[in-house]
């Protein structure tokens, strides 16, 4: 594969790969370094890519490896799955008496879901849920792609996304979504 052919394959993947690295590293400088290093590694290893398989999955696997090579030990408090039932924010908003069914009062809650809030909530997730959830949200990845990138079975992808969403919602709510929505 020559450089032009490689460029054709990698160019559409770079925006999502950058967002993925940015969400995991939480640093523009680190994300920029990760993407450059991963792109160069992928180019040098391009002959190992099997034509007919998913270039996206192959490249994101390399990006993931570079993220973790750079990762520092995280010491954030992590949320627990036992305390995070399904549809967490909906249940909590209902319990707090926030009306969600008229014109569009759900905007009171939804408006608080900012990038900063999501980043903070993501950082509190255990790594296995954080990486699967980030791939799902920033990359429009299929379960099959996530399975290949993280080298885990499809059933594990489903379970990590399911638990990851519950944890993410609990972390968002615990950050003060309720107070902001009620007090505006």
């Amino acid at each position: 594969m020559d450089a032009s052919e490689f460029e054709r394959l990698i160019t559409p993947e770079l925006p999502a790969a950058y967002r993925y690295a940015l969400r995991l590293t939480r640093s523009r400088e680190d994300a920029s370094d990760v993407i450059q290093e991963a792109s160069l590694s992928a180019f040098r290893a391009r002959n190992q890519f099997e034509l007919g398989t998913s270039f996206r999955a192959w490249f994101f696997k390399i990006v993931t490896n570079h993220v973790y090579q750079r990762a520092r030990k995280r010491t954030v408090d992590q949320v627990s799955i036992e305390d995070a039932p399904d549809a967490y924010i909906y249940r909590q908003a209902r319990g707090a008496g926030i009306p969600l069914d008229s014109e569009d009062p759900s905007q009171a809650v939804l408006g608080q879901v900012t990038l900063e809030a999501v980043d903070k909530a993501l950082a509190s997730l255990p790594d296995e849920y954080r990486e699967a959830s980030t791939l799902y949200f920033v990359g429009d990845m299929s379960y099959e792609d996530i399975s290949q990138i993280l080298e885990i079975p499809l059933g594990t992808v489903r379970s990590r996304l399911y638990r990851g969403r519950r944890l993410l919602q609990k972390a968002l709510w615990d950050q003060g979504l309720a107070g902001e929505a009620i007090h505006g």
Partner: protein
Amino acid sequence: MDKILSCQETIVLLQGFVDRDLTPEESEQVHAHLDHCPPCREAFVFEGKILRRIKDAMMAESIPDDLMQKIIGMIHNS
């Protein structure tokens, strides 16, 4: 006759329903439950909005143009 799902069973299947990852039978069962259960329907609509909002927040930042150009340059010069 199709199994009638409880509210709890429906909530557990919502992720797969949103992602179109259910079997046709499961999907039909969720549809049937939502058609007759306003609280679950409200939860489903809200869940979709929350997931959309989280996705939009995460998609807010784009790769800088100069970084794209730098990477493409690196590929051609290495």
